[in-house]
Amino acid sequence: MAYIDESGRAETMLGQVLRRLRPAAAAEVARGYSAAAKEMTVRDALNSALDEEMSADPSVFLMGEEVGEYQGAYKISKGLLDKYGPDRVLDTPITEAGFTGIGVGAAYHGLRPIIEFMTFNFSMQAIDHIINSAAKSNYMSAGQISVPIVFRGPNGAAAGVGAQHSQCYAAWYAHVPGLKVLTPYSSEDTRGLLKAAIRDPDPVIFLENELLYGESFPVSAEVLDSSFCLPIGKAKIEREGKDVTITAFSKMVGYALQAAEILSKEGISAEVINLRSIRPLDRAAINASVRKTNRLVTVEEGFPQHGIGAEICMSVVEESFEYLDAPVERIAGADVPMPYAANLERMAVPQVDDIVRAAKRACYRAVPMAAAA
C-alpha cells in the first residue's frame, strides 16, 4: 500500500526507499517537489500514453476535431501529427455521428481507432454508434466482430461553460454491457488506464476531466516506462482509513482526499477509494472496504438520479448489508442543468465540505432509525 503524506499525495517509490534509509530526505520527497521525484501533468500523461501506443502499434490511429494541426483542442495530442503524419492523426469535420461511425467501421476491419470527442457532451450526437454499433457487436455476432476502439475526451463540468457543456456521462455509458468505462484521476491512472484501454480488444469509454489536465502528480519510473499498464476493473485505495469509506472518481478523488484530510483532524479516519473503473466496477474492493469501515459515502460529479452512487449503494446493500452501521450517503452534482453564474455553479457541483458533512453524518448515525423516531 502506498504511504500517504501530509498533502494527501501517494508517496513515490523513491520516497519510500528514502524514508527507510534517510528520513530527512524522505520528508522532502514526500512533499512531491524534490528534484529527484518526477512529476507529470495529466495532459503530458495523456500525450505520452498516446505517443507510446501509436509508436508500438501501427494500427492505432487518432481521429477527432482539431487533434492534428491545432495540436488538440486542449493540446492533448500536441506533436502527434508531426510525428505520425496525417494518415494516423486525422482532423475531422464537425460531424460526430459520421466520424464515430467511421471509427467503429475501421475497428470492425482490424484497426485500433482512438476517437476523441472534444467533450463528451458531443458524444450524444454519436451515441448510437457507441452503443449499437460498437458495444453490442461482439455479442450479436457471437464473437465474430470485436471492436477494439477507444472513445476519449473531457467529461463532466469545466468552469463556467454552462448547461450544454458540463454533463457527466459516466452513468450513461456504464449502464451498457459491452462497454468498458474508465475514469482516471492522477497522471499514473491516466497513463496506465489509457494504455490499457488502447490495448483492450473491446470498446472503452475513457472519461477525462478538463480541469485535471493541468494538474501535476508524482510519477515513478515504473509509471514512466512505456510498458506500464494498469488493470481494467480494479479500484485503488488512495488513502487507507477505518471509520468511513468514501468512493470517488476523476476530479472528485482530489476533493475526497481533501475531505479525508479535514476529517482526520476531527478524529475520523476516512478510506478513499479511487474507482478508476466504472465499468467493470470493482465491487470487491468497495465491499471489502465497507466491511472494514461499516460506513459509506459515494461521491460523483454527475446528476444524482440513477447515478454511480446509486449502483454502489445497491452493490453494498446486496453484498454487505449486515456490515452497514449507517445508511449509505450520496454526494452528487445538483439535480439541475448546470447554471452559468459562478455562485450557482459552485452550488451545483460537489464541494469538499459536502463530502465532509456526509461523512460525519455517516459516522454519527450509530443509532437505528426506529429508535430516533
Binding site: 494518415d87 459520421g98 484497426l111 454508434h129 450479436m140 466482430i145
Partner: protein, 390 residues
C-alpha cells in the same frame, strides 16, 4: 422458320446448334458472351460504363441458380415466420436478388459488404450456407451468430461481410469506416455499403460521405431503392428521389437493379472508380415483393397491380431464365429441374436447422466482451443467476 430467326439474334461467336435437345446438358461454357443491359445507365458527374456486359453461359446459369436459391430461402422464411418458428423482425429480400448476386459477381471476397437488416441474401451471396441462415432465423446454436443475433444480425467476417444492422442508416458510416481501414492497410479493395431509399435521407450518411470524399476512401454507397421506406413511398420522404444524385459532389450511377448484368457492370465500374478516386453512389432501381417486414402485408401503401406488374415485367430471375432459354443455354425443363433441386436443398436445410438445439443457457453471458477479465455479470435476479465473463 421461327427457330432460325431466334438463333440469328445470338451474337456471331456461337454457331447455331443442330436440333437435338434431349442429350444436351445445361451450358457450363465459359466462352465470353456480350449482352446489353435492359436500359442504359444514367450518370451524375461521371461517364457511365457501357451497356454491353461481358458474361459467360456458366455465369448466367450461376446467376439463375443463386437468385433462385435466395428466392426460395426467403419464401421459406415467410412460412417459418407464419409458423412462429421465426420471431421478432423478419425483413425479406425477394425481388431484390439481382443486387446481391450481380454485386458479388463484380467483386472478390476481399472487398467488404455491409448492409442493414434485409441481409439474408447478402449473407448467402458472401458464401453463407442455408443451414446457418435458417438456424439463426430460428434462434438455434447452429446459426451464423449462434442464435444470438437473429434475422437482422447475420455476419460473415471471414468473407468480409460485416452485417446485419438494425439502426437505419448506421451501416453507411460504418461502411465508410471499413473503406478507411482498407485504404489505411493499402489493400486496394473497396467497401459496398448498402442502404435503402428510406435511409438515404439520414444525416449521418452525408457526414460519412463528406469525409469519404475528403479523404478519398474506397467507399461505394449502394442505395437499394425499392421505392418504399417501410410504408412511406419515396416521393413522400425525399424532396429529391434521384438518389444517385444525392451525393452532390460525389459521382453517381443509376442502375436497373432487376437486371443482374447491369448490377454486375455497375459494381465493377464502381469498384474501379472508388479504389482510384474515392466514393461513388450507386442507385439500384429495385423492388421488394414482400412488405417491409413480416408484420407488414405491403399492400396498404401499394396496389396489388403494381406488385404483380413488377413481377411480370421485371422479375430478375425470369429475366435470366429468358436469356438462358432464348440463347439456348438451357431448356425450360432443365431450369425447372434446377428449381426443384433448389427447393429440396432449402427443405433439407430447414429440416437440419430444426434439429439444431437452442443455445446453451451459458451463452447468455458469452461474447459480452472479447476480454472480460472474469468480471461478473448478472441475470434478472442476481442472487439466482450470475456469471463470470471470460
Amino acid at each position: 422458320m421461327a427457330a432460325a430467326a431466334l438463333l440469328r439474334r445470338i451474337p456471331a461467336a456461337r454457331a447455331p446448334p443442330t436440333v437435338f435437345v434431349a442429350a444436351r446438358s445445361i451450358s457450363d461454357s465459359t466462352a465470353a458472351l456480350t449482352i446489353e443491359t435492359s436500359v442504359p445507365f444514367t450518370s451524375h458527374l461521371v461517364d457511365p460504363p457501357s451497356r454491353d456486359v461481358t458474361t459467360t453461359p456458366a455465369e448466367l446459369v450461376t446467376f439463375f441458380r443463386d437468385m433462385s436459391l435466395m428466392r426460395r430461402m426467403e419464401i421459406a422464411a415467410d412460412s417459418l415466420y407464419k409458423a412462429k418458428l421465426i420471431r421478432g423482425f423478419c425483413h425479406l429480400y425477394d425481388g431484390q436478388e439481382a443486387v446481391a448476386v450481380g454485386m458479388e459477381a463484380a467483386i472478390t471476397r476481399s472487398d467488404s459488404i455491409i448492409t442493414a437488416y434485409r441481409d439474408h441474401c447478402i449473407y448467402l451471396a458472401r458464401g453463407g450456407d442455408l443451414v446457418s441462415a435458417f438456424s439463426e432465423l430460428m434462434g438455434r446454436e447452429a446459426g451464423c451468430s449462434r442464435g444470438k443475433g437473429g434475422s437482422m444480425h447475420f455476419y460473415k467476417k471471414d468473407a468480409n461481410f460485416y452485417g446485419g444492422h438494425g439502426i437505419v442508416g448506421a451501416q453507411v458510416p460504418l461502411g465508410c469506416g471499413l473503406a478507411f481501414a482498407q485504404k489505411y492497410k493499402k489493400e486496394d479493395t473497396a467497401t459496398f455499403a448498402l442502404y435503402g431509399d428510406g435511409a438515404a435521407n439520414q444525416g449521418q450518411l452525408f457526414e460519412a460521405l463528406n469525409i469519404s470524399a475528403l479523404w478519398k476512401l474506397p467507399a461505394i454507397l449502394v442505395c437499394e431503392n425499392n421505392h418504399y421506406g417501410m410504408g412511406t413511398a419515396e416521393w413522400r420522404a425525399a424532396k429529391s428521389p434521384a438518389y444517385y444524385k444525392r451525393g452532390d459532389y460525389v459521382p453517381g450511377l443509376k442502375v436497373d437493379g432487376m437486371d443482374v448484368l447491369a448490377v454486375k457492370q455497375a459494381c465493377k465500374f464502381a469498384k474501379d472508380h472508388a479504389v482510384a478516386n474515392g466514393p461513388i453512389v450507386l442507385e439500384m432501381d429495385t423492388y421488394r415483393y414482400h412488405g417491409h417486414s413480416m408484420s407488414d402485408p405491403g399492400s396498404t401503401y401499394r396496389t396489388r397491380d403494381e406488385i404483380s406488374g413488377v413481377r411480370q415485367e421485371r422479375d430478375p430471375i425470369e429475366r435470366v431464365r429468358k436469356l438462358l432459354l432464348t440463347r439456348d443455354l438451357a431448356t425450360a425443363a432443365e431450369l425447372k429441374d434446377m428449381e426443384k433441386e433448389i427447393r429440396k436443398q432449402v427443405d433439407d436445410a430447414i429440416a437440419k436447422a430444426k434439429e439444431s438445439s437452442m443455445p446453451d443457457t451459458s451463452e447468455l453471458f458469452t461474447n459480452v466482451y472479447k476480454k472480460g477479465f472474469g468480471v461478473e455479470s448478472f441475470g434478472p435476479d442476481r442472487k439466482e443467476l450470475r456469471a463470470s465473463l471470460p
